[in-house]
């Protein structure tokens, strides 16, 4: 058995203890591998404000009989609290203590790989990829998609939100998609991406569900939404959140301002009304001559000749005024004037309806 000098052990442990919290279900802290000296390692851990300093690891991970790591159960994990680990290496009756630096467990989370990858055909030769995640909190995740067709040599990587769209696909090619997740900056400052998911295939020569027989007919609003939604919900999570922030700030502010304007309108209606609906201008000043001098007689003001005016008049009828010559003063016969005579029938249309008028006919039918 090779017994190293006591100085070698800290050197070998300089790589440090590496801890990973898998999907917030359990954690493993590894400090070594087969190349480590064969000594007795033990791990102690504590949280900064905990009452018991230094609880020993309950379940060690071993490689060929040498302890190389520790497995922590979910109930042993507290996030957002300083986590400290101490490794004791015992060799030849001597014990070396190798402390680790302070860790924050929320920065060590590695989510589980996405599952249930599904491809849907959208309008305009567009493909939409969706998936589910075993991680409990969707708001804390960001995702990366890598894909290539059977004709491409390298993978295309795209970091985005919850849904991935491939704008135009070639129906002659077959595509392969992988997705992985990471805790986003709103829930922790992590570095670990999850493992890549199981792949999903699309296109000709593929075994995926459904024949690639061209896009199915879609309602018109789907096509409209497909063209508008990239503008409303552009690529990355950060951009989505940015637009969400803009919408939640600007829309209430704009609505409030508009509300205020309407309230003011209501209170001071008369004054705003005059501004919004101004008084109709009166051009009568230009027509003083017409109204005052000629007393509204347009033809006279315009200088229309009299015979033209006469010709425009409608058929005019008046009672015939019977003029009689007054007898000489020495005869006392009664005067014949128009008041004693019944007026003769008028030459124009009759005033009262008679049997031949259409109104009477219709009245008669009723």
């Amino acid at each position: 058995v090779y017994v190293p000098t006591s100085g070698l052990i800290p050197c070998l442990l300089l790589a440090g203890v590496e801890c990973e919290l898998y999907n917030e279900e359990y954690m493993t802290c590894m400090w070594g591998s087969r190349e480590m000296p064969t000594v007795n390692y033990s791990l102690f851990y504590w949280y900064k404000n905990a009452s018991n300093k230094g609880v020993e690891c309950k379940r060690y991970l071993q490689d060929q009989g040498v302890r190389v790591g520790c497995y922590f159960e979910q109930n042993e994990l507290i996030q957002f609290q300083s986590f400290h680990v101490l490794i004791n290496a015992s060799v030849g009756g001597k014990t070396l203590e190798i402390p680790s630096k302070r860790m924050l467990l929320q920065d060590l989370v590695k989510p589980a790989a996405p599952v249930n990858l599904t491809i849907r055909n959208m309008s305009n030769n567009q493909l939409q990829l969706t998936w589910a995640s075993p991680y409990p909190n969707d708001q804390c995740l960001e995702h990366a998609v890598k894909y290539k067709s059977n004709k491409d040599t390298s993978w295309t990587l795209s970091v985005n939100g919850d849904v991935f769209s491939l704008p135009s696909v070639d129906y002659e090619k077959s595509y392969t998609f992988y997705v992985r997740s990471k805790i986003n900056k709103f829930c922790g400052s992590t570095l670990f991406w999850s493992e890549w998911s199981l792949p999903v295939f699309w296109g000709s020569n593929s075994t995926s569900k459904g024949p690639p027989a061209g896009p199915p007919p879609l309602p018109w609003w789907c096509a409209v939404w497909g063209s508008v939604s990239p503008l409303l919900f552009p690529g990355t999570v950060e951009e989505q959140l940015y637009w969400f922030g803009i919408r939640t700030v600007l829309v209430p502010i704009a609505s409030c301002l508009l509300l205020l304007v309407l309230v003011i309108l209501l209170v001071r209606m008369e004054r705003v009304w005059v501004i919004l609906m101004p008084r109709i201008p009166n051009p009568s000043k230009n027509f003083d001559e017409l109204f005052i001098t000629h007393n509204g007689n347009f033809q006279e003001w315009a200088g229309v000749p009299k015979d033209v005016v006469e010709s425009f008049k409608p058929n005019y009828s008046e009672n015939i005024c019977y003029v009689t010559e007054l007898p000489p003063k020495d005869s006392h016969e009664p005067l014949w004037d128009s008041s004693n005579h019944a007026p003769p029938p008028m030459p124009g249309p009759p005033a009262a309806p008679n049997e031949h008028s259409p109104y009477w006919n219709s009245y008669g039918r009723v």
Partner: protein, 134 residues
């Protein structure tokens, strides 16, 4: 006309209500973005060390936020051309408040360790991340 104005007021009120989806999380996102901006612009060299709360006590979130807000006001930008953006971010972060669920005893701000401006901002980031996650 009056009736139409009242109807319009009710309409705009309802649209405001509809846009209010999870305002708490949206606020945390905004504050985290502003802290990120401050981290990129803050002066580190010869800067004053600030009391940085850690191991946050459950239920005393607003008290902890107040400690951070005291420290935030002492931060300075590294370059003078960043001053307007820096000041705007400080102003937004200073207006942020959280709720104390049930706060029995918190250590005073001065009992915490003093750290550099960037580590101070990382500590603040941790607090907001905790609030967002829960």
């Amino acid at each position: 006309m009056k009736r139409m104005i009242i109807f319009c007021m009710l309409f705009f009120c309802s649209t405001m209500v509809l846009t209010e989806t999870s305002p708490r999380r949206a606020k945390y996102r905004q504050i985290l973005r502003k802290i990120e901006e401050l981290e990129s612009m803050v002066k580190e060299k010869d800067a004053e060390l600030l009391y940085t709360p850690e191991n946050f006590v459950d239920g005393c979130e607003n008290t902890t936020v107040t400690c951070f807000k005291k420290g935030i006001l002492k931060l300075q930008p590294a370059r003078s051309q960043d001053t307007p953006k820096f000041t705007k971010a400080i102003r937004i972060v200073s207006r942020f408040t959280a709720k104390d669920k049930q706060c029995n005893a918190t250590p005073p701000c001065e009992s915490y360790e003093k750290k550099t401006p960037k580590n101070f901002l990382k500590g603040f980031e941790n607090l907001i991340q905790m609030l967002f996650k829960n």
